[in-house]
Symmetry: D2
Subunit: 294 residues, 4 copies
């Protein structure tokens, strides 16, 4: 018998993911903070609930795809979605959250006798729509096995990182730190070459056509090359938050991360200059400003 699914969070990522599950034949109770975002789902057969607890109460499996720690705490704890889950249900938390919250939720779900796994994803909207996400999963093996049919619909590959949900969150924070590092590296390198009269587009074209021909460098590099930071694909302020979460995770594990610290300081420099709502690629411009190049 197919499990009954609750789905919390129908933002730019959550909505196409929920649609893919509907299309695969699952019955979904969906909830979103603003009701309008749920409308398209309703048209495709989802049942829209007015509270997260209602979406959770009948679910065999609850998927949440919420914005950040604050949203997860609010929805799961304050608004009672965790409390509404029946014993034996499974909650798959796909958000990028802090290690501290991951560990807290793990303990709280255990107390509630509800299964809990973390499954943050890599990929933007188009990848989510195509069901081609990369999913980082961690938690008890039997729970991961239970979730796998859903992951097969949502993503191209599921990567397992251990029995403790927080491990998948650590991987996600590590990956996002690496993105910030790539952006900042392009910023410093193009500040250097600009110092010798080289157009940054020429430099970035070279780099991203050869050694650094990877999606991250091509995507953010293009924006940097063209000084095109609006509309934001992913806001600098959100990227900055993820660097902070990586540093908090490093603090807890006693891992010095000086490069992450540098990225945080540059992120603050960008925020202090009003660039928080630009695309994350704008982090590169801190290097230009410090060199007096803008």
């Amino acid at each position: 018998m197919t499990p009954k699914i609750g789905f919390l969070g129908l933002g730019t990522m959550g909505a196409p993911m929920a649609i893919n599950l509907l299309n695969a034949g699952y019955a979904l109770n969906v909830w979103n903070r603003s009701a309008e975002a749920a409308q398209p789902l309703a048209e495709q057969g989802a049942t829209v609930t007015s509270t997260p607890a209602q979406a959770a109460q009948d679910a065999d499996i609850l998927i949440s795809m919420l914005a950040d720690d604050h949203a997860v705490e609010d929805v799961m704890l304050t608004q009672g979605a965790l409390e509404a889950l029946k014993p034996g249900a499974l909650h798959i938390n796909m958000a990028t959250i802090s290690i501290a919250l991951a560990e807290q939720l793990t303990a709280q779900h255990q107390t509630a006798q509800v299964g809990y796994i973390a499954a943050p994803v890599l990929g933007r909207v188009d990848v989510a729509t195509a069901g081609q996400l990369n999913i980082f999963a961690a938690g008890a093996p039997q729970l991961l096995a239970q979730a796998q049919p859903l992951f097969d619909i949502l993503g191209q590959t599921t990567w397992h990182f251990g029995d403790t949900p927080a491990q998948a969150n650590a991987v996600k924070l590590g990956a996002n730190f690496m993105i910030a590092s790539a952006i900042n590296t392009m910023g410093e390198a193009s500040a250097l070459t600009q110092g010798y009269g080289i157009d940054k587009k020429a430099f970035i074209d070279l780099i991203t056509s050869t050694l650094f021909a990877a999606p991250v460098y091509k995507g953010y590099g293009q924006a940097i090359a063209e000084d095109r930071f609006e509309p934001p694909g992913f806001k600098l302020a959100l990227g900055h938050k993820d660097v902070r979460l990586a540093l908090e995770a490093a603090e807890q594990a006693r891992v010095p991360m000086p490069q992450a610290s540098l990225l945080k300081d540059n992120g603050l420099d960008a925020l202090a200059h009003g660039d928080g709502t630009l695309d994350w690629a704008a982090l590169a411009t801190v290097a230009y400003r410090r060199a007096g190049q803008r």
Copy 2:
């Protein structure tokens, strides 16, 4: 009429490059510090000279592929290769050298009425052997045009970066800084995830299969994942030297590069712990040591 070529420096990169020119039908006078390295070239028809000046004196075009600033100064100035060049000849310097030396050589060649362009390359031995290097070229347009038939043999793509030779050296230093940054980023990210019990091989496989699926990350990442730093493909001490050259270039252009500074400090940490002769990938282990993970 095909130009007569002098070729100085038959190391791991220079030798296959010279062979490719021979195979394309050029006559070559070749010289190398240690004579044995010239022997295979002689067998393929090159004329081996006993001094760099002898290789330079008849050349229409002199190509030098030497190890570093010191070698270039020694061969071109102390040993008299520049002085031996006839007026109107062209010197193509393909080494990774400092901006300061590039500017000095530009002036000295001008005084000697010898053309001078810089053309450092991207690619390791196998790429050089296949004639598939990426060549960064800068200098007077007519000199670049004169060199292009040779570049077409040596490389897959020639990237032009301006009329001043030092510009190509700046690009090369920018690129090498980016490599160091990628290595260090993988080091910190895997130190973080190791702090949560995640095997670094699993983390690096994920990263290099998805967002960071680029040659630099795959190559160095594999070495990091497997703690395999010997034999060195490119020694850490040499990579450290290039980071220092990037910082010197940044100093001259008044460009703060805190990430490069961090890479230099980590390079010193590695050197102080005896890791200079390991592969550059070993730079990643500084993060582990600082975290008490080794």
Copy 3:
């Protein structure tokens, strides 16, 4: 009529401060987590209460001198000391706490119609005993005026930093950041000079006898010169915590503090190597370890 004083926290700093108030003729209700520490106060005439709320309930002025954010939250909120205070009472919080908690407490005291000022101090045990502390005070002017007679007993100088309690906490965090910076600076400078065979004692004697003849440099410098990190005067782990609080405060105010970030990373390096319980001066040894000097 002299105000009735409640005093929470009789640690190494709190105990001599409370005694000074007793000696000045004030009636004190005192409380400490472990009862033994209250015994000497009882012998000098203080009334020992068994809960913080009991010490607070009769107080015109409540002074708290607790270890950290956690202790303040526990004592004031969980154990109900704030709730026990009568409307119109004044709470003087002399602990080094985070900006976030300072702002939360300010709001909570306002709701409770209880006055609240922050008054962290500079000075160690001997200074506290001598009633010679430097007190950084912030809060409403009339509340500061009300507290001044007590400050005159506890300290040599009261420095006013504004109407908002958190301002005094910001000053304290700024001062502690400067201490960490001085320690780390001595570490790097002596690593450099050790690299040239100079005994660090000779270097530090010079420095602290001339340009840097200040208490911080003399005190920590002596410990560094002699590699004497036990017993700890102030534990490295606590200093590290204060650097983190400074960075959190900087984050909130959007102030990049790369030097503080560096101090935090070095602090983590020290913690990862088991040095958290040593004196804060041991932060200097991170530089030696990185240079392979120990």
Copy 4:
């Protein structure tokens, strides 16, 4: 018999030092790049020479107090002062120079059979005038003993740092690094507290009256507190150069100095914004600019 003294370099520091030697009864041959600066010395009985070699040729002891590496190389080597010294003479180099040049000069003096010691100083013009400098001396013990009567006139204390002249230069670079670090620390700390609405003058007054009541903090702190960076006491560009020399020395000794790297990057930020001719204290303003506070 009193030795005959040659004295090269009559700048703001050299002139009062030479006058003190004259006043003590020594016969001096003096030389300065611009002749006008020598005039006051002539009026007090010194013999002014038209070349550095002339000042050196009769000297038993040659003292040089030149601006930087470049001036030392020019005067001692290019203009032949070293060559002019008679075998058995002693050269006391009191400039702040690089380790590399110190080592080169040590070897060249040995070849020339001329004694060589390094004796950089701490103290500004007024201290030099009062004969109260702190002198850091290194070199062969008998040479140091020979110089001591002169040091007793020039300074209040002579600190010995070993048999190798470069050791005294390392100490001087370490000290100057510490000054830069103090300035930058005050910059970041006042940026933090300014972020909470605290006047930087109030903060710096507090700090320099208590824990950091040392000459460096009081002097530079006053300038920072008042945003008074002109006229420069010691130019930021010169301080930046000394930080670079410290980093070069650290590179040679394989000592990571991340705090020095940070100071160098901030120095470049200041230079890129046109602040090189301001007082070194202006280094503190980099923190304000990055925080959007100016």
